[in-house]
Every structure is written in C-alpha cells, then in structure tokens.
C-alpha cells in the first residue's frame, strides 16, 4: 500500500509543519533534510511512496548558492519513477527564478504536472499532491 509521503526540507521548523499536516491526513511520513538522504529514501521506499513534497533549495555545506537548487534532482527522479511530486518553495527568495522555467520545461517534456506551492505553504502542497493523485 502506498501510504508514505516523503518530505524533502532542510529546516527543522518547516519539517515539523509538514509533518503535522501529513500525520493529520492519516498518511505516514519520512523526512529528508538533504538531497543525499532524499535519494536514499526514494531508493528504499520507492514502491511505498504515495508522493513527494520537496523544497528546491537545499544547502550544500550549509551555504546557499544558486547552484544549490538541487531539489530539482528530486523532481527529476520522481518523474522518472512515476511518483507524484509537488514543489514547496519560494524560488525568488534565493535568487533562482530560473527554477520556475526549468519546472515548466520538465512538465512539457514529461507531460506530467509538477504543482508548486509557494512561500512554504505545506498545507497547499499537500492539497495539490492529493489533487494530483485524484486526477491520475
């Protein structure tokens, strides 16, 4: 049964907000604070994942750069494996507006929706993930 949601987010306070929303829905949650951990969890729980809610900007060695929009890798992996994925980020905050363009291009190439919940609105992200699954 696919009842686990993977949340990819590095900030603990944001992780807790997402966790409460997921647990209230009756789903189970696993949380990855780094890209490496997210990849490990996707490998391990691939067949049990209901969906993924991911931040886009994950720090590299605790520093922020435009190059740290590495959450896009999570999105691409989700598309490749057919796992529903919603992006929960504020792309402007980190000066990486190109992320929106890349997501749009990925949607075109994969013919799949990649909904985005801005300003770290996890409730909206969860709602969009649920809608995505209902549609499919």
């Amino acid at each position: 049964m696919k009842n686990i949601i993977l949340v990819v987010e590095d900030k603990i306070e944001e992780q807790m907000i997402a966790k409460n929303i997921v647990l209230e829905s009756g789903k189970k949650i696993i949380i990855a604070g780094t890209l490496e951990k997210a990849e490990e969890f996707i490998d391990k729980f691939n067949d049990k994942l209901y969906g993924i809610m991911t931040d886009i900007h994950l720090p590299i060695n605790d520093t922020w750069t435009e190059a740290s929009a590495n959450g896009l890798s999570v999105v691409i992996t989700a598309l490749r494996l057919g796992i529903p994925c919603v992006v929960c980020t504020d792309d402007v905050a980190h000066g990486a507006r190109y992320v929106a363009h890349i997501l749009s291009r990925l949607e075109q190439l994969s013919s799949r929706k990649i909904p985005t919940a801005t300003s770290k609105n996890w409730a909206d992200a969860f709602k969009k993930l649920s809608s995505l699954l209902e549609e499919s």
Binding site: K19, L23, K28, I29
Partner: protein
C-alpha cells in the same frame, strides 16, 4: 502495546528475551539499516535503540532521527549507548532498560 528494538546483535536478543519474559509485550527486532522501514510497517508504541559508542554512534543518531521524524508524539523513543570496549558483558541494568521503555 508493541516495542521495536533496534539492534540485531547479541545484546538485542538478550533484551528481547528479558522484555518478553518479564512483560509479555510483543517485541520486534530490527537492524539499524531496516529500522525505519520496520517502524513504518509495524507501528510500535515504544522504540529502543541500542548504540555502541565505539562502532555505531553515527548510525544510531541517524536511526533515531529518522524514526523521530516519522513518529507521532505518542511514540516513546529511547536511545541507550554503551561502550563495547569497557562494557564487556551486558552493559545495561535491567531496570534501566525497563525504565527507558516506561515499563516500570
């Protein structure tokens, strides 16, 4: 109530036997590697993670963090460490174990 013991070694086996004999509470055992998967599958109420300071400290911290991240606030998670070099036999008092999982 259900308990998850994270330690597939001899110590885990001894503790499992102690808990089952003394309390008859259903107890599952898993390795650190499979701990999160077992936790999600079995929904235990108590999780007891054993760590050896000399060998698996980092692994134990990761296991505990992953399980805490997935657990509701009702689940009690305890980590017990021991030093394999100093504590040659059973390093933990029975009472300490039972206290750790709120059985006494």
């Amino acid at each position: 109530m259900k308990i998850l013991l994270v330690d597939n070694g001899i110590l885990g086996g001894v503790i499992e036997a102690i808990i089952i004999i003394s309390s008859k509470i259903p107890t599952i055992r898993s390795s650190h590697e499979d701990a999160l998967e077992t936790f999600l599958l079995e929904d235990p109420d108590r999780v007891l993670i054993f760590e050896s300071w000399s060998e698996k400290k980092e692994l134990s911290v990761t296991t505990a963090t992953d399980i805490r991240n997935s657990a509701t606030s009702e689940v009690i998670i305890k980590t017990i460490g021991f030093d394999r070099e100093k504590d040659l036999v059973l390093p933990i008092e029975l009472n300490e174990i039972l206290q750790a999982i709120n059985l006494v």
